[in-house]
């Protein structure tokens, strides 16, 4: 029982990272009808930006701000360089462009920084606290805390602000949105910036738990992609629930069945969903809110 509680905590922690990246997937998918295959690289780039900023002597909080600003800028560049020129084409050229961007980002970092994995310290000095039978790792606590805040922010932003409504309108019917005077290109720009920052946050948060490596992006993105399918593709709540569920399942699987097959469990669940419930957990709704 104690072990189960401990695993649940860790699982939710790692699941929260998947949830954040999955949220980025979903928001871009809804705005552009395209899966952004570079979403994982956003996490990787942000983690490296963090490492570079700290090596440059910035305090942790300043490095954090620099990394997030860098991600916002990357979101702008990505939108203008990858999506915008192809926006009137079908989804296929855009998807291929995001795959190309993902390869470009990974190899640019490789060329600049070399293949050695880097270590990023966590935010807190103290490694964690013991609460009853469960040891709460401080970095996992931070991940869970930030994710809760972001989910609340996301809800407030999309449900309570007029800008959020315009973003939703754009994702539901771009032509109609433009007829109302909503600047569709601005809305899509905001979506890319927001998704890049979300992905970046996930990368910075998870970096102290993993190593900072070129491959970290694709590993996280694969899991996050699985999470969006489990949750119901294109569904915001589904992305979050799917991410958390996946984190918990793979953590329990690793502990009780087999550690080497940890990554396998995520895909086993994914395959099971694709066979038995391809629409995902929330997939049956006719239409839903962001």
């Amino acid at each position: 029982m104690d072990l189960a509680l401990q695993l649940l905590f860790t699982g939710i922690g790692i699941g929260a990272v998947y949830a954040l990246v999955a949220l980025g997937f979903v928001l871009i998918f809804r705005a552009t009808n395209v899966v952004n295959f570079a979403q994982g690289e956003f996490s990787m780039v942000a983690a490296y930006l963090m490492v570079v900023a700290i090596e440059a002597g910035l305090p942790y909080w300043a490095a954090f701000i620099v990394a997030l600003l860098g991600m916002a800028l990357l979101g702008v560049i990505f939108n203008l360089g990858v999506y915008y020129p192809l926006r009137h084409r079908t989804y296929l050229p855009v998807i291929i462009a995001t795959i190309g961007a993902s390869i470009l980002l990974a190899n640019s970092v490789l060329a600049i920084y070399g293949p050695q994995p880097q270590v990023l310290e966590g935010w807190f000095e103290t490694p964690g606290i013991q609460v009853g039978p469960v040891y709460l790792d401080s970095q996992y606590l931070l991940i869970i805390g930030v994710t809760i805040c972001l989910v609340i922010f996301n809800f407030w932003f999309f449900e309570k602000t007029l800008l959020g409504k315009k973003l939703q309108a754009t994702s539901q019917d771009k032509e109609m949105a433009s007829l109302l005077g909503i600047s569709v290109s601005t809305m899509i720009m905001i979506t890319f910036i927001y998704s890049a920052v979300l992905g970046g946050l996930a990368g910075i948060l998870v970096a102290p738990v993993l190593f900072v490596s070129i491959q970290m992006g694709s590993t996280i993105a694969l899991k996050a992609f699985a999470a969006t399918i489990i949750g119901g593709f294109g569904d915001v709540a589904g992305a979050i629930i799917g991410g958390l569920a996946l984190g918990v399942i793979e953590t329990f699987g690793a502990a009780y069945v087999s550690v080497p097959y940890k990554d396998g469990f995520a895909f086993l669940v994914l395959i099971a969903f694709l066979i038995f419930r391809p629409q995902g957990i929330f997939g049956e709704r006719v239409a839903e809110k962001a």
Binding site: L162, K166, Q168, A169, D173, M176, L179, G181, K289
Partner: protein
């Protein structure tokens, strides 16, 4: 000077010439209806006016200024609001939110837009009880009301209405046209209709469009008076009630 003037407008979709030189005008304060069969180019005309379709040649003058080739966001800011075919109410937003977004063409505080949206329900009392219902849960007639209310939120000087009666039960069509006759007190309307009888019943002037060209224009009673024209373009021999 007419509020809207279209001169020799040509619109091509690839190889297909949807409009082959359309010339017509809408006077300030009028309701003008554009009649014609399926594929005659009625919707394309509206799409060209609102900026969704790029004119190949010809000109569109709004208040004397050329708007041909401008984007839809710029055109709606100038005061032309387009309620497109199929209503296009955002399915995942509530009725109130849909209506509020109609004011996206102008700068106003959210609280003011919210009040104006509430006031819209006085003109459309039938949808008041669906204020917080999501768009996809509404029926066709209700969607049409929401779409028109949303179009009016732009405070347009010219309202473009595309097939508001399409797919609606006759009693709902009556309700929609009653609203159009109320709108006309403040707003100039360009109305596209397949239902010639309904279109002409509210219009001051009508044009008949055939395969991308205006073949006829006149006052409603003139259009109805011509037996051959009525049979060919207006569908049937029914007597107009208005």
């Amino acid at each position: 000077m007419p509020l809207l003037e279209i001169r020799n407008l040509v619109v091509r979709y690839g190889e297909i010439e949807a409009l082959r030189g359309v010339t017509c005008a809408v006077e300030q304060g009028q309701v003008v209806t554009l009649l014609g069969a399926n594929g005659a180019g009625k919707s394309t005309t509206l799409r060209a006016i609102s900026g969704l379709a790029k004119p190949t040649s010809g000109d569109i003058l709004f208040d004397g200024n050329s708007i041909a080739g401008l984007g839809p966001e710029a055109i709606v800011r100038m005061g032309i609001s387009h309620v497109p075919e199929g209503r296009r109410v955002f399915p995942g937003l509530t009725v109130k939110e849909n209506i509020m977004l109609g004011a996206s063409n102008r700068r106003a505080p959210t609280s003011e837009i919210s009040r104006e949206a509430d006031a819209m329900f006085d003109l459309f009392p039938d949808i008041r009880k669906f204020t917080n219902a999501l768009g996809w849960t509404l029926s066709g007639g209700q969607l049409q009301m929401v779409a028109v209310a949303r179009g009016l939120m732009a405070k347009p000087r010219l309202l473009l209405l595309d097939e508001p009666s399409l797919g609606l039960a006759p009693v709902i069509v009556q309700a929609v046209f009653k609203i159009i006759s109320e709108i006309r007190r403040n707003t100039t309307v360009l109305l596209v209709e397949q239902n010639a009888r309904m279109g002409l019943s509210v219009a001051d002037y009508g044009y008949v469009l055939e395969t991308g060209r205006i073949v006829l224009g006149g006052k409603p009673d003139e259009l109805w008076g011509n037996e051959a024209i009525r049979a060919a373009y207006l569908g049937g021999h029914a007597k107009v009630s208005a």
